[in-house]
Amino acid sequence: MKLTGAQMVCESLIREGVDTMFGIPGGAILPLYQTFHQYPQLKHILVRHEQGAAMAADGYYRVTGKVGVAMATSGPGATNLVTGLATAQMDSTAIVAITGQVSRGAIGKDAFQECDITGVTLPVTKHNYLVMDIHDIPRVIKEAFYLAKSGRPGPVLVDIPKDLFTEEAEFIYPETVEIPGYNPTLEGNMSQIKKAASLINSAKKPVILSGHGAVLSRAFDEVKDLAERAQIPVITTLLGISSFPETHVLSLGMPGMHGVAYASMALDQADLIVSLGARFDDRVTGKLSSFAPNAKIIHIDIDPSVIGQNVRTQVPLVGDVKSVLQTLIPQVKQNNHEDWVQHIEEMRINHPSLRLKEKDNLTQQYIIKKISDITQGGAVVVTGVGQHQMWTAQYYTFSQPNSWVTSGGLGTMGFEVPAAMGAQVGKPDSVVWSICGDGGFQMTLSDLATIVENKLPIKFAIMNNHFLGMVRQWQHLFYEDTFTATQYSGNPDFVKLAEAYGIHSFRVTEKSEVDNAITDAMEHDGPVLIDFMVDPEENVYPMIPPGESVLEIVEEPTEEPTWR
């Protein structure tokens, strides 16, 4: 069958099970777009900024497990993808980005809208390709999808020069992938699993540290089995949230810089950490030399390079979390760890990190707690980055597996709008709440138009404090209240703005209005935007200052330091 390069791309995408793509056309990718009408099974969602395409693809992947597809034209279209690709690279999420490139003859000549995007994205992709021969298109796309979703997932970019789209050649789709330098280890090594089991069986104070790998491998049942079988408390990293139900008695929540005190303390006092797809990021460990001083570490990860990168490991175990746990669990003896679990319960009572303050002001914590209560912890929750993100991690009680979408590693503000879009496209029947900061929201709000166009009933809650709240908090704590460039005095009227897009919207200024506002939003059929006017002086606690150990933890101060 002879096909054009453009048709080959579409045929290949269909064979990879793609049905949705996010993108914006432009000169170099136009011949590809002009074939879409021949393939109605490929739905293209026209975004307003290519950054939104990459992040929507990311959100889509996170909730569905299907590789997200982003498309952009050459030059500025492609460079606009970069932040989204870097976000995906840091959080190990599978995206395939297809970019148009100037024609082969023009490459390297500074042609109009030319950019060396494979060069630019080298450090922010798992792998990338510049296709220079039409016969390579099917193989490259097959490899791109395989690389993106297998092993430790990540973004892959495929750059295709414009003239390849219109050339013709025989279309042969390869059945298998042959990449001699790539073969992720999925099954754990038996003798390492035995060692792990014996450490777990002899531990007195074990904890499970469940990370994004547990979510990505969909090991929800296995994490629960392991925890319940040996009564091991479960600590979830920021990206590990929703790998274990937070309604469970063994759930401790998030540790680290803004984690709950008892989770950080449990890590500190543990004699064994069973790490499931977590990478001991600095936000979790704090000062490495005093991190978990008494703990042995079983480090289970699909990526060998994160094992031993930050902490010393007694049992390195390379493999897919789900597969490793399935082999490991039968070797773990039932246990109740009564004293240890009891001790943690006492810490929970003595260090109540999540107590809402008796305060008349409208606080983000209060709103998020209410959203959690009213949605019964069952919504898909998307956030941006900063205070509202940390409070959502703390105060939303996630009861459903894989229901949390946030930019953890890169910490990308503005993620909340396009990622929510991708999540709602991927899960049309789920309730999607996007918790936004007023700063991040203004970085990507242009995609409200996309949301309206595609009738996506996302519920936006803007935590409007007229500040870059987390930056303000650091200026307050570490820079003597010098609030340089953090106040947003020129915010638009978000309600009018939403109305201009045709989105149902209202403002909340009082605590007493919160319940009704959330319920109204839930009852409305389409997208809703609530502008919550929140207290700008609230700080996120607990806080372990950067580079410090859990010993330096600052829990909620009894009196807020005055800063004005």
Partner: protein, 188 residues
């Protein structure tokens, strides 16, 4: 091996951009390499690279893992110093006069190097050996006035039957070939 120099040899896909991927990884992860050489291997679609990396065992372990993480890297071997041959070539252009030319030639002979060009005021010498031999040679020539030094960086190979960074062809039937050493994941 503790802190010091390690010689790593990698078998990589011989295609455009592979050098950029590897050198970019060294740069962004902050690894120090004192030399990097690349050239065709015995197989047309594979190249062999030799890196001389500075660091302790943990650093070399990370370098190896990060190399393996690159899709184009097929196999990495950390060479055992005692069981490998490491060679570097250098061209050294040194000032020479009628008075001292024979002295320079004498030194060159001691080092078993070759005079490849003799000009009115200069001599170009080709020398092959391990790094320390070339270092010592250059030091000895310094009093004559060194005009230019061009070094290739080290290439290395293990002694005897062992083939350095070899593709494992014993795994047949599988759609993908796992070319990591069998005990790789357990000896992290």
């Amino acid at each position: 091996m503790a802190i010091g120099e390690h010689t790593l040899v990698a078998l990589v896909l011989h295609q455009p951009g592979v050098l950029n991927r590897i050198s970019g990884m060294f740069r962004r992860r902050g690894f120090n390499i004192s030399s990097l050489t690349v050239g065709q291997s015995e197989s047309e679609d594979l190249a062999r690279m030799t890196f001389v990396v500075q660091g302790d065992d943990a650093t070399v372990e990370q370098v190896t893992k990060q190399l393996y993480k690159l899709v184009d890297v097929v196999r990495v071997t950390d060479l055992d110093e005692d069981n490998s041959i490491v060679r570097e070539m250098a061209l050294v252009k040194v000032s020479a006069t009628n008075q001292n030319r024979s002295e320079i030639i004498q030194i060159s002979e001691i080092f078993r190097s070759k005079i490849v060009d003799v000009g009115a005021e200069t001599v170009v010498i080709e020398i092959t050996g391990d790094q320390s031999k070339i270092d010592r040679f250059i030091i000895l020539l310094q009093p004559f006035g060194i005009r230019e030094v061009m070094r290739t960086g080290a290439v290395a190979m293990s002694r005897g039957n062992a083939v350095t960074a070899q593709i494992d062809n014993n795994v047949s039937g599988a759609s993908r070939v796992n070319n990591r050493p069998k005990d790789y994941d357990q000896n992290l």
